[in-house]
Amino acid sequence: MAEKEFKAQNAETEDKLIAKAKRGDVYSFERLVEKYQKKIYYLALRMTKSHDAADDLAQESFIKAFYSLKSFKEGYSFSAWVYRICMNLTINYLKRQKFTLPESQLKEGSLESLSDTVKADSINHLAKKELMEKIEQEIESLPVEFKSTFILRTYENLSYEEIAQALKISRGTVMSRLFRARERLKKNLKGYL
């Protein structure tokens, strides 16, 4: 009950901030940015594997959101709306970079910070480093439409509906893309899983 009240209060606060930002209050918008900056940054980072690109894309997503606030309809999820902006920018970025994607500078870092314990019993016997490397590699090689759907589901934990809203596609398309992305990963990671 208390959680619900908190959420309602929080939503009310968010609505007020949005309303103020719509009137041009940059400070109120800054509060909204603080709230969602990590989600948006990590989404861009997952997609691009580059801190610089993720930084640019996350900033640009919020700037674009500020200037497009007039088109944001009250009652909709602000986070899903910014997700969509970020995803559009990121997909465009990836299409531009299609042939010039740098070797991920993050691989080493991500592997270093890898959890020491992978709980799934069946993969205990595998070299974790090798598995993680392979998974990152395979996710990165997915077509951008599959990758975006897979990342929003797996890392952002969005529901089918939320993904559909963020990518402006139907629920059926979300399910289909997710199915195909997983089947492809499973096939390519055969022997590791």
Binding site: V26, E30, K38, I63, R96, S113, S115, M132, R182, L193
Partner: protein, 385 residues
């Protein structure tokens, strides 16, 4: 349900979107199916392993300044002058992107196809014109011209324009002995002795100022007054530039001419006169200018043929005893024949036969009846053929 049906349900299960019934079915199925159990295990491991991948955490300072960087940029962009926004938009055009490349390629391809198409069309047009002219010349050889009705209708149509161009301006005038005499001596009229010339109306004529090629070859002489010689009808039929007219000289010095009032080339029989020397000839049937038809002249337009039929038919209704009756029936027969060859409609011949039969019934003289009968026989033969 088959294993393939459970593949989707397994995904729903992993995403927490499975309903109670599907859940029960899946549990039951998994208990007896190794393939699906293995599939679920692999997908679950994939999900767990993927979630375990970690991204580097930016420093706390990064997060503390991130929102401020965004708001600063917003403020900066707000202050950006209009020309700077235009400049950056202009510069963005030259930043490479695959989409821009695709669009540019598409536009360039369309332009290239258009230009090549135009060049090819122009070349082909000239080439086609040359081929067409050659064919025309062959088609217009004497043998073909003798039996033009044997040509397909489409060819006849296509020959029409070219043929008219060739025939009309250069057809040699073959004046009758009577006409020659008129030219040499002039003609006596109730108004006195007038020198009569034959002119050729040129293309630069207007309604109020008719130019006639007369006298020496190439000489253009202005006619000052508006003719009252039924030129309106000639204008309507589109034959003005090719129409021969007879002019009455007024003054040699000024070289101005007035169209002579009705001056038939041949002596008029009653109320009908024959006009024209070069190329196309006309009868003046009552007040109508009616084209003189030649059996081989398949290039006459449908409207002209219809006018010939109407004019002669009306004349015979009003004046069945006219001296021009034989000439008229002959013209009617030719008109129906040519009209049939142009349109290919059998009903035309039927209509012609019926009309001639009517005139045959009303004719008094046996000679005329026989003449009409011979025309009917010709049309019937054509119809059977």
């Amino acid at each position: 349900m088959k294993c393939e049906d459970f593949d989707k349900i397994i995904h729903l299960f992993l995403d927490g979107a499975i309903d109670e019934k599907q859940s029960r079915d899946l549990v039951e199925h998994l208990s007896g199916c190794q393939r699906c159990s293995e599939n679920l295990r692999e997908l679950k491991n994939l999900d767990i392993a993927a979630r375990k991948t970690r991204l580097p955490e930016p420093s706390p300072a990064y997060w503390q300044t991130f929102a401020r960087k965004v708001s600063n940029e917003i403020v900066l962009r707000k202050k950006k002058p209009f020309w700077a926004k235009i400049k950056s938009a202009w510069e963005s055009i030259f930043v490479y992107s695959p989409a821009k490349l695709r669009w540019s390629g598409a536009i360039a391809s369309i332009l290239l196809v258009f230009i090549l198409g135009k060049l090819y069309y122009d070349y082909k047009g000239v080439e086609l014109e040359r081929i067409r002219t050659e064919r025309m010349e062959k088609a217009l050889s004497s043998q073909v011209r003798e039996e033009p009705e044997k040509l397909p209708l489409a060819v006849q149509e296509s020959l029409q324009i070219e043929d008219q161009k060739k025939i009309a301006p250069s057809a040699p005038a073959i004046p009758s002995a009577e006409e020659k005499a008129q030219k040499e001596k002039g003609k006596e009229t109730p108004q006195g002795t007038l020198k009569t010339q034959t002119g050729f109306v040129t293309e630069d004529s207007t309604k109020d100022s008719i130019h006639v090629k007369a006298g020496r070859a190439g000489e253009v002489i202005q006619i000052a007054t508006m003719p009252e010689l039924g030129l309106k009808e000639m204008e309507k039929s589109g034959t003005l530039p090719e129409t021969t007219v007879h002019i009455e000289e007024i003054s040699d010095k000024k070289k101005t001419y007035k169209l002579a009032k009705e001056q038939p080339v041949s002596e008029g029989k009653g109320d009908i006169g024959l006009y024209g020397e070069e190329g196309i000839k006309y009868y003046k049937v009552d007040d109508n200018w009616v084209r003189v038809l030649n059996p081989n002249d398949t290039l006459v337009e449908v409207d002209t043929l219809k006018k010939v039929i109407t004019s002669w038919s009306e004349l015979f209704k009003e004046k069945p005893e006219t001296e021009w009756v034989l000439e008229g029936f002959s013209q009617l027969k030719i008109a129906y024949k040519l009209l049939f060859l142009k349109t290919g409609e059998e009903s035309i011949l039927k209509e012609g036969i019926e009309l001639l039969n009517k005139f045959k019934d009303s004719a008094v003289e046996q000679k005329i009846k026989d003449e009409i009968n011979s025309k009917i026989t010709e049309l019937e033969a054509l119809r059977k053929k």
